[in-house]
Each structure stands twice: as structure tokens, then as C-alpha cells.
């Protein structure tokens, strides 16, 4: 437990990044095989069942120390965590002994059946052999309070560093069924089998941003288009009775989206689809933030699945029934997509909605200029005869972002930013009029010119209403045009919305604040499309 507790200490203090991966790699290298598989299980979010409540542990600690209950409570108030309070009020260990993690986990699992006195005896014996950090860990493990999150990608990178097994193979194994009670780390890092090689993701379709005009693509009759929604590009691999979902950077996300896995089980064997994973609520596409929250999670609960239901919008079929069809024209591949999806749960896996561009670019331009209710980020253009993996213009999927939205808003707060990494000297909070006052809507400093800086400085000097640390509340008279790429709903914000990618466009010199559009106007504009 000593090594594992040291690892936990390091992980708690290290921010994301390489440091964490090498700390994990060092641990997996030095820990015993059996401890390591338990650590892998705990860190990948498989929380052990609670065998004793934290309050029971507190009671035993109070009994052991002989401290009055109020003193324990006072200590808890200072520490803020019961597992740590218990660990620290106890006297120092009588004899420092190493308790292997695996041994402890196995014996504590067996405890369910044993009597309370036996459990107490066992815990107190352990407390007397461990230092404070190890006791915290132990208390959390037995009381079901172990919640340290390590991203699967960090775990697999660490294992790859030690074993050389490709991280995506490890990710797949981690996502598969295994049990720390019967499996070992050696088994987890066994040589790659031929079957495993076959479930690797293929190259993703080349997708690029079109910088020139739409007409640079040639004859519009050759092209199909679809809305570009916020989501994560995914390859779905149906292989050996399983469904694997890969991201472009070879992360295995199948365990995070069991709905899709279930739906994908009805697909023919040895088939690979490419698409976009997105949140879809009552037929309405969700935001990037929503899908990201699904991807960041470790445990998929019913509540998460209910609040952010996911859907795979299929864009292409790469392999069908064991046959590689990447080198047939896209419109033929699309037939496979449509026939495949016909037999799948359409709320989970559905073909993207594509339409002909038509005889000229007018319709595409209309989509881009927000001339209809849809509020996608832009459009994706696909050539009817394009190959998957080809390099000519027709083989590439072209994206074009829609024109940004704009709205005039008033400056409510000004914060000067000294951080050198920041692009501007100020962060401004912009607001709109709601029922009975201005409500903050967005905060940005992007797009401010030197001139704007001077203007804001003067405004702060003359019109500051109140100070909150580095923030100045100013008289709501300064108006700017803000441009943004979209709006998403947020219950955490007073306005109820967040603007996506907001930036400052221009100062509205003669703008009368009273004539500005209101928050309700902004909401109306966007809820219409949703």
C-alpha cells in the first residue's frame, strides 16, 4: 500500500500531462503484478463496494483515541474530510508494516460476511501499521469513498511506456471484461494477438476546412452536403461479437457510450463505420460541452445517460461484412450506410442527413448565411465519387463554417488582465437587458484594439460604480457589437445561456442602450431552431 499511496499523493498534486503518465508508469514498473492490477482497476474507476461506513470508522477512531466527540468534530471541521481526520487523530503506527494492496482488497471483500468486532479488530490492526497517507487511502477504500479519477488515456499511455504494447490495444483490453481478483497485470499486457490487430481503427476520412469560395470545388451537381454539428469523430468497429468505438487519437470510448454499443451489436460482423458522436435530445443536437461531459466521465450512470443521450451520426462505411469498400465511390458506399442503418435503432445510430447541393451554390450559401432555422456550426461537403483515403479535391470532405451571429451588448464589468499569456489587457463582461435589469451574458477580451483599450480605461476612470477586487462594475453605457458562433443552454449562468466563441467586433458609438435588443430576443432567436 506504500507505493500506491505515494502514487496517489503524486497524482493529487500533479496537473494533467506527462508528469502523471510517468508517475503511473513508475508505479506499474515497481509495484507487484497483483497490486498493479488492483491499482489499475481502482484508478480506472471500478470503485470497490463499501464494507464499512465512514461513520462506523469514525466511531472506532474515537473509541481508540479516547478523544471526546466534540474534539473529533472540531478536527473534522478543520480537515474537511472524515477519512483524513480519522487517519490523523490516531496515534502514530506502533509497527510500520507493508500491507500489499491486493491482499488488503481481497481480504476486505471477504469481510461482508464477518462480524463487526472482527472488522474493527482488522481495521485497527491495519491503522497501527500504516502512516497517515496510507490510512487515508485505506479508510477511503473500505468506506467506498475512493474517487480519484485517472483518465483511461493516461493509464494506457503509462502501460505502453512500460511494455511497448500499443496504447489502443491496451485501451481495448481495459474496456473489455476483466477482474482484478483473477487477472494480473502480466495478462493485461500480454502480446498482441492477431484478432486484436484486426479491431484497430483505420485511417479517418481526410476532412479539411475550405478557405476559398464554394465555387472553387467545381460543379455543384457533384456534391452533397450535410449540417456540421458539434460532435466527436468516431470509428465504430464491429468485430468478433464486440463493438469498439475509436476516436481519432485512438482512444477507446466504447465503455462511455453503452447505448451505442448495444445498438451496434445488431450490425453484421466485420464492419467499420465512420461518423460523429453527438448528444441528441428529442431529435435536437446537443452542444460540444454536452458531448464532452460524456467523454470526460468515468462511470456512466443512468442519470448521465438520461441527461445527455448520445447518437452516432454515420457519415461513411469503410468495411462491410469483411469487405474493404473504401475504394468504391462515396455514393455507392452511402447505399451500404443506408441499408445498414435501416435495421438499427435510429435513436442511437442513424445516417447523417444529406442533401444535393443542387445546380448552383445558392442553397449552400443560404445555409451558411443562417438563412434558415438550423443552427449548425457550418456545412460539410462530400463528392459523390470521392474515395476514402484519396488525395484529390473530390476525395476530401470539405467543411465551411457558417457566418457568425452578432448582437449589440453593453459593458457591465471590466477586469484588467496582467497575465502575459492573455491576448488583451481587459476582460469585459457584456450584458443584455432582462426583465428588471442587465444580466451578464458573456465575458471576453478577444478582438479589442489599442483604441478600445484607451476608451475602456477612460470609461472605467469616469464611470466605475463599484469595485470587486480587480473587477470594476461600470455604468452600462458602453456598447459593442459581439460576434459568436452559437448559443448553448446553461443552467449555471444567470442568463441561462452561454455564447460560443464570443469575440468583440466593433464599438457602437452612437448606440442608445435603451434601443438594444433584449435577452429574450436572443433566446427567441435561438430556441426557434432547437
Amino acid at each position: 500500500m506504500r507505493l500506491f499511496s505515494e502514487l496517489i499523493r503524486q497524482l493529487e498534486q500533479l496537473p494533467d500531462g506527462e508528469g502523471r503518465v510517468s508517475a503511473l508508469a513508475r508505479y506499474f514498473h515497481s509495484a507487484s503484478d497483483q497490486d498493479a492490477i488492483w491499482a489499475l482497476s481502482l484508478l480506472s474507476g471500478k470503485r470497490p463496494r463499501r464494507v464499512v461506513s465512514i461513520h462506523q470508522l469514525s466511531a472506532w477512531a474515537i473509541e481508540k483515541t479516547g478523544f471526546p466527540v466534540w474534539l473529533f468534530k472540531e478536527s473534522h471541521r478543520q480537515v474537511g474530510d472524515l477519512a483524513e481526520t480519522i487517519a490523523r487523530v490516531l496515534p502514530p503506527p506502533g509497527s510500520r508494516e507493508e500491507i500489499p494492496l491486493a491482499e488488503w482488497m481481497r481480504s476486505s471483500i471477504a469481510w461482508g460476511a464477518s462480524a463487526e468486532e472482527e472488522q474493527q479488530e482488522c481495521i485497527e490492526l491495519a491503522w497501527d501499521q500504516l502512516d497517515a497517507d496510507e490510512r487515508i487511502l485505506l479508510n477511503k477504500l473500505v468506506s467506498g469513498g475512493f474517487r480519484l479519477r485517472v483518465k483511461p488515456v493516461e493509464l494506457v499511455r503509462a502501460l505502453q511506456e512500460n511494455t511497448g504494447i500499443p496504447h489502443y490495444i491496451l485501451a481495448m483490453r481495459l474496456a473489455d471484461r476483466w477482474d482484478p481478483e483473477s487477472d494480473t497485470l502480466a495478462w493485461m499486457t500480454r502480446p498482441v494477438s492477431r484478432e486484436e490487430e484486426r479491431v484497430q481503427p483505420l485511417e479517418f476520412h481526410d476532412q479539411r476546412t475550405l478557405t476559398g469560395p464554394l465555387s472553387s470545388l467545381g460543379d455543384p451537381m457533384d456534391w452533397l452536403m450535410e449540417d456540421q454539428w458539434d460532435g466527436i469523430p468516431i470509428q465504430l468497429v464491429r468485430q468478433q461479437g464486440n463493438v469498439w468505438l475509436w476516436t481519432m487519437d485512438h482512444q477507446m470510448v466504447a465503455p462511455l457510450v453503452p447505448e451505442i454499443v448495444t445498438a451496434g451489436k445488431s450490425m453484421p460482423e466485420d464492419t467499420v463505420l465512420e461518423g460523429v458522436l453527438m448528444v441528441m435530445q428529442d431529435g435536437k443536437p446537443g452542444t460540444m460541452a454536452q458531448i464532452q461531459s460524456r467523454m470526460d466521465g468515468q462511470r456512466v450512470t443512468k442519470a448521465i445517460m438520461r441527461d445527455n443521450p448520445v447518437c452516432l451520426r454515420v457519415r461513411d462505411c469503410l468495411v462491410w461484412n469483411g469487405e474493404d469498400i473504401r475504394k468504391i465511390p462515396f455514393s455507392d458506399r452511402w447505399q451500404y450506410v443506408e441499408s445498414l442503418c435501416a435495421s438499427l435503432d435510429p435513436t442511437r445510430i442513424q445516417p447523417a442527413e444529406m442533401t444535393d447541393v443542387g445546380p448552383d451554390w445558392a442553397k449552400a450559401n443560404q445555409w451558411l448565411s443562417r438563412g434558415r432555422d438550423q443552427l449548425a456550426g457550418g456545412i460539410l461537403l462530400k463528392h459523390r465519387n470521392g474515395y476514402h483515403g484519396g488525395e484529390s479535391i473530390k476525395d476530401i470532405w470539405w467543411t465551411k463554417s457558417g457566418e457568425p451571429f452578432q448582437m449589440d451588448m453593453v459593458v457591465l464589468y471590466v477586469e484588467s488582465v496582467r497575465d502575459r499569456s492573455s491576448l488583451s489587457a481587459y476582460e469585459l463582461t457584456f450584458g443584455l437587458w432582462d426583465v428588471d435589469g442587465f444580466v451578464p451574458v458573456t465575458k471576453t477580451g478577444v478582438g479589442l484594439t489599442q483604441e478600445d483599450g484607451e476608451r475602456i480605461k477612460a470609461h472605467v476612470r469616469e464611470h466605475t460604480l463599484e469595485r470587486f477586487g480587480p473587477v470594476r462594475q461600470v455604468a452600462p453605457t458602453l456598447v459593442y457589437t459581439i460576434i459568436f458562433d452559437g448559443v448553448s443552454v446553461s443552467l449555471r449562468h444567470k442568463s441561462g445561456i452561454i455564447l460560443l466563441n464570443p469575440r468583440i467586433c466593433a464599438w457602437k458609438e452612437a448606440e442608445e442602450v435603451a434601443g438594444l435588443q433584449r435577452l429574450s430576443d436572443l433566446k427567441k432567436r435561438f430556441t426557434k431552431g432547437f
Partner: protein
């Protein structure tokens, strides 16, 4: 429970200027200007400017002259000697907090009071070890007066520091420890193995090192950082800087760095998370919970007045184990409670 100490009968009273002995008309660590101030040690919350006469141990006297100016009037009172003022016998006894730090013993007609100042029972290589002083009434600090504060053996912490330093050397990062420039810095320096690499100091620390060396304390050689030092000059080294240097930019030119904070507040995970430092080492110059209880027991005091820190719960616990104990309101002593953030930061400075 917070009480006002009866002012008339007591040998020492809490006045708006600080702890006062009315018979001798001397104050102990006062925070407003007085005629005669007995100073336990040189930390700025105990040794303030503006008193007419300072009475302290010889080492503290050097520190005060360095910090408050050569012109202050100081009377040295070494350990083991005493002065008598209007029948009150006053002496200093080692407190173990930092080199030269003292507890103040005050005796009048057979009644003995001790003011501990800041103290610790764990040994360190340079401070005179804490000496239990028998007394009737003890005025003790309680900075860490909760049972959650139990220090690990300082030897283990020093070993961890060396281990971290080695990791920094292997990854070519400069190891930086933030420690208060008077006391904690020197305690660390004395414990560090300079065979592992050179030890650099911030300009606020080196003068104190010199002062201690002149007094015969065994500190290994250190190098004061100056504006000409480049990153390559510090390779494999360990730099000791005060906590106030933590957020400033000057360290960046030596980057990449790994920094650590050495303080008792690092004992709790909460303390470590609050810090921006990469590591926290729970190395304290204050008594922990068992230390406070041992000191009180060994003094034989029947009455205990508790200041600084977790005064209320600590005094309550002392009452429950049979002592006549009272908490003296901390703000009265010009010390913020450590459980608010600002207070914790301020204490870090002196810790």
C-alpha cells in the same frame, strides 16, 4: 470559551499593548510601543519596531539589530542568567523554535509564570533544545492545537526532501524550497547534505545565515543568488527562498523549476492543495498536539492560558483533562485565526 483574565491579582495580564507584568512594568512580545519589551524571538509578529528597550537573548539581539536597525537599544540576557526588576525575577529558557528563541520565566514572591512564545519539542540541528520550565501558570501558544497535527520524524521529512531534490536533478529542474528566511531556512540548510549539490539562497536569507555562522552555528556553505546567476550556474542545485518570492517572476529565468513549501500547514492535504507549490513538506517549527500536551505536563502548571491558534478547543480539552485552562482571544494578540485563508497565509510566513 473565551475569558478575560482578571487583571488585578495576576502577575501577568493581557493589556492592549501585549502581555504585561504590572509589578516590573515590562511587556512580553508587545505589539505597541512600550518602555521595556522582553522579546522571545525575532519573527516579525513577536519583535516589532518602536520599543525603547529590548531585552532578549544574545542571538535574538543580533537578529533584532539586523532587522530593526543597529540603533535600537538592546539589553542581552543569556540563557541561565536572570535580571530582577522591582522584585520580579526574569529569565529566558530555550524554546526550541529557532536559534536563540526563548520562553520567558517570571517569578515574584514564589509564584512562577512562563510565557512560552513559539516553541517546538522536536529537535533540529541548530536550535537550543526546548527546556521544560516548572511553573504555576503557563501562557502557551496553540498554533497546531488539534490532534490532527502530529509531526512525522523530521529525519524522514529531510530524507523525503533529499529524494525530491534527486528527482529534480534527474529531470533537470531547479529545486526550490520556500521557507521563512529566519529559522526555517537555516534549519533546512543545516540538515541538507551539500554533497548532493550546491545550496543557493535568496538575498533575504543569506544575511541571517552569516549572522548565525558568526555566532558559531554550524551551517554548511551556501551561495547567495545574484543577478548574474544564469540557469546553467544553478544546475543540480537547491534554492531556498522565502514564501513571498513564490509568486514573483524572478524565478522564471531559472526554469524549469519544481518548487516545494516547507511548513506545518502542509500536513493536511487541504494545505498542500491550497499551495501553488508542487510539493509540500510538513516541517514545522511549532509544537504539534502531542508536543503541546507534553510541554504543559512537564511544566507542572496548574493553570494554562492559551493564545495563538486553536485556542478555544485546545483550552476546552485541557479543562476536560483536569487543568484550569482558558483561551485568550487570539485577535487580542494581533494574530489571525489560522483557519481562515488569509490567516493561514500570514502564519505560513512565521511558521
Amino acid at each position: 470559551m473565551i475569558m478575560t483574565v482578571e487583571k488585578n491579582r495576576d502577575l501577568l495580564v493581557f493589556s492592549p499593548k501585549g502581555i504585561h507584568c504590572p509589578i516590573a512594568d515590562v511587556y512580553i512580545d508587545p505589539w505597541r510601543s512600550v518602555k521595556k519589551a522582553l522579546i522571545t524571538h525575532g519573527h516579525s509578529d513577536h519583535a516589532r519596531p518602536g520599543h525603547q528597550t529590548y531585552v532578549c537573548t544574545p542571538l535574538t539581539a543580533s537578529v533584532l539589530k539586523h532587522r530593526l536597525g543597529q540603533k535600537i537599544q538592546v539589553a542581552e540576557l543569556p540563557f541561565g542568567q536572570h535580571i530582577t526588576v522591582n522584585g520580579v525575577r526574569i529569565s529566558f529558557h530555550p524554546a526550541g523554535h529557532i536559534p536563540g528563541s526563548a520562553q520567558v520565566r517570571v517569578e515574584y514572591r514564589g509564584e512562577v509564570w512562563v510565557v512560552t512564545g513559539d516553541y517546538k519539542l522536536h529537535g533540529d540541528p541548530i536550535s537550543e533544545p526546548f527546556e521544560p520550565v516548572p511553573c504555576h501558570t503557563m501562557i502557551t501558544e496553540s498554533t497546531f492545537g488539534l490532534p490532527i497535527y502530529q509531526w512525522s520524524d523530521p529525519g524522514i521529512i529531510i530524507r523525503d526532501i533529499h529524494q525530491w531534490w534527486r528527482e529534480c536533478q534527474e529531470t533537470d529542474q531547479l529545486a526550490v524550497i520556500h521557507a521563512y528566511s529566519l529559522g526555517k531556512a537555516q534549519r533546512l540548510i543545516a540538515a541538507l547534505d551539500t554533497h548532493q549539490g550546491p545550496v543557493f539562497t535568496h538575498k533575504s536569507i543569506e544575511p541571517i545565515n552569516e549572522l548565525f555562522r558568526r555566532d558559531g552555528l554550524g551551517l554548511p556553505p551556501t551561495i547567495e543568488l545574484n543577478e548574474f546567476h544564469q540557469r546553467k550556474d544553478l544546475k543540480g542545485g537547491l534554492l531556498i527562498a522565502p514564501p513571498s518570492a513564490m509568486t514573483s517572476d524572478w524565478l522564471q529565468r531559472f526554469g524549469p523549476i519544481s518548487d516545494a513549501m516547507a511548513s506545518g500547514w502542509m500536513a493536511l492535504r487541504k494545505g498542500r492543495f491550497r499551495q501553488t507549490a508542487d510539493r509540500g513538506f510538513a516541517l514545522s517549527d511549532h509544537a504539534d498536539w502531542p508536543g503541546l500536551l507534553t510541554a504543559i505536563r512537564e511544566s507542572g502548571a496548574e493553570r494554562v492560558l492559551v493564545t495563538h491558534g486553536f485556542t478555544t478547543p485546545f483550552a476546552r480539552y485541557l479543562r476536560e483533562i483536569g487543568l484550569d485552562a482558558q483561551a485568550v482571544e487570539t485577535r487580542f494578540l494581533g494574530e489571525p485565526a489560522p483557519d481562515d485563508q488569509a490567516g493561514a497565509d500570514a502564519k505560513n510566513d512565521q511558521e
